[in-house]
Symmetry: C2
């Protein structure tokens, strides 16, 4: 056998292994059974949050010095919220002095929209993937505008976070204890037919979830003024389901990690500075590139000059394809082959800390992540 | 001037009057502002229900002898419900003996789906058209399957009606008293973009309405077990909004009645025997024809042989036209000219009394109604 033939045989045999691995990856995604089962203080779900002023953030790993404006704003706000700083100025100083331990949500089975702050006392919604018995976590959505996930950090933002923690979350916890969890697979299927796409448009799923939760919350309520306030908050927040959808994506994708020879992307996420992807067959490595600027429509009074480059997590994609199935699985080989990276629709944060959301738009994942990942994959498989 | 020219001039002048009248009719429809403002016992909304064992029904006027099976079943059930008969057999005997006073809902600013039973103690939802200060009424939707609107009349059906009257309705009354009404124009606009069509598919509007009502119901609830049950009923009934939508249609169309020279249809409705239309420029007259059989999909165990001809009310039409505006106004001239009557999607009742819904499908309005109406219109205008 010539050297050339031997090489070709190696390539063919690896192609077969990849095919098998990717089939397993897709089956793993499609057979997942995500169920909303609980709402718990973050430290219960993630014991590592108990100490060291640990702050989980959106996207791939990043240090304070490289964080964008809105993420710095969110960090300062959440530090005040957790009592690690007396005020925002103090929080900025402590961040500069290295007093906070920054880690990606993704390293702790968690996700979070935009800045994605997760700290010990925040309530996390728990999605259980019953097929593979893994759990994923996400905080409760705060609504639109001046909110922490877009870098908002004033007294109103912190007050809302406290209300989520002290009032809404315990009610959701008690409500979910009254049932065997709320199945999300069918609920999302129905929401998709009603026009939701699980990121900018969640009004249908938010309503469908409220239909399930409201009767249970009424059963456990001890104080109907709070119950009314909770139902009004959930009913008035078209994005309430976004964070449930994100935890669902995480719960579905985590079992797809670490399938040997698989080229399927298991996470795509951003932190406002870097965009990062992980690939099933490439373990815990992150492949990063600078995030791109979203093309968007801006709220009154704001323009592209105010916008921060894109950030957040996006693990579930929804096409406007008339009743065709949702495309499942992103293969780094195909991304590089066709030269087209996934499109992400997203909110837009003001680039300065403390201001919040100023628009919504569309952004592309940077090609560099996929090129680098494919090169690393080829090296690993010995075909570079 | 020749006789021919004079005739032509008359026709032209009448055409102009019709054009003006129809423009006013369409403007009246489009400028309506329907708001859900109250839920009241039917006798409060319609004092004529107080005496004479009066039963309002769907569609144009009809006497007991000509009523279809499911409408007879519903009549017997509602008579027991109101205490006018000891049991269903007794109710049938009393109906035969002429002891009930049958009137169309449409004669009393009311509407009702399928059999459309309206009697004194049932709760009616009240929709106020704020632009023209008129009110329209419809009972609360019972859900699917064995329900009175499809002719169901057993103990379970009557028990549900009693629960609607004694538990859900007072809670909705108290809830609506906490706000300035729930605006339906925008709510419906949003529901349409989420795939609702206001007859077979009301899941979006049902959810959107629950989002408004649930916080208010929590505020006024004195008993959270009942509140939970009420929220569960509303959240579990995808058709909850149907009856709100019908009252909305009635509230929007009643101000269109009695516009001189207008050829616009102001009501299309059926009672399982006759289909009837009313035309703006033709006053209170009904133009009727035998109803047609729906072409439908049947629930397990039922076939077309079980089906009753079509009945009910349908005053709001929703096309599957991708984001084009909803067609507004049915002109009897155009119906006759193009030879195509409106299509109605509808539930299908079992033809025997007492059984209920057995399917859902599509049916056409009969052409005879429109031919007769156009002939009457031409007579009235002196151009026949």
């Amino acid at each position: 056998m010539s050297v050339q033939n031997a090489e070709q045989q190696t390539v063919n045999s690896i192609a077969g292994l990849i095919e098998q691995a990717n089939t397993k990856a897709i089956e793993t995604m499609l057979t997942g059974d995500p169920v909303l089962v609980d709402v718990v203080p973050a430290v219960e779900a993630i014991p590592e949050l108990a100490s060291g002023n640990t702050i989980l953030h959106a996207g791939p790993p990043i240090e304070w010095q490289r964080m964008c404006g809105p993420m710095r704003g969110a960090v300062a706000g959440i530090a005040v919220f957790e009592g690690w700083a007396d005020n925002l100025d103090d929080a900025f100083k402590k961040a500069e002095a290295g007093e906070f331990n920054f880690q990606p949500n993704h390293h702790y089975r968690a996700v979070g929209p935009m800045t994605g702050m997760t700290t010990k006392s925040q309530p996390l919604m728990v999605v259980h993937n019953r097929t593979f018995d893994n759990y994923a976590y996400c905080a409760i959505n705060e609504g639109l505008g001046k909110v922490m996930r877009f870098g908002g950090n004033d007294a109103g933002v912190l007050k809302r976070l406290a209300w989520l923690r002290d009032t809404l979350a315990p009610m959701m916890t008690d409500a979910l204890a009254q049932c065997d969890g709320i199945g999300l697979k069918n609920l999302i299927a129905r929401g998709l037919t009603m026009g939701d796409e699980m990121h900018q448009r969640n009004v249908a799923c938010s309503g469908l979830l409220l239909r399930e939760l409201a009767p249970l919350m009424a059963l456990v309520s001890k104080d109907n003024a709070s119950l009314s306030e909770a139902l009004k908050f959930m009913g008035g927040n078209d994005q309430f389901f976004l964070n449930v959808g994100m935890a669902t994506g995480k719960a579905l994708m985590d079992p797809v990690r670490d399938i040997e020879h698989s080229t399927i992307v298991t996470a795509m996420c951003r932190n406002g500075t870097d965009f990062g992807i992980r690939v099933s067959g490439l373990g815990d490595q992150w492949f990063t590139a600078p995030v791109e600027m979203p093309e968007g429509l801006y709220f009154a009074g704001f323009t592209e000059a105010d916008a921060n480059p894109d950030m957040g997590n996006a693990e579930w994609s929804i096409p406007g394809m008339d009743y065709l199935g949702v495309p499942t699985g992103i293969d780094i080989r195909k991304v590089v082959e066709v030269g087209m990276t996934p499109t992400i629709n997203t909110g837009i944060a003001h680039k300065e800390p403390g201001i919040g959301q100023v628009g919504a738009g569309v952004v592309r994942a940077p090609m560099k992540c996929f090129n680098d990942a494919l090169r690393a994959f080829a090296m690993q498989e010995g075909v570079a």
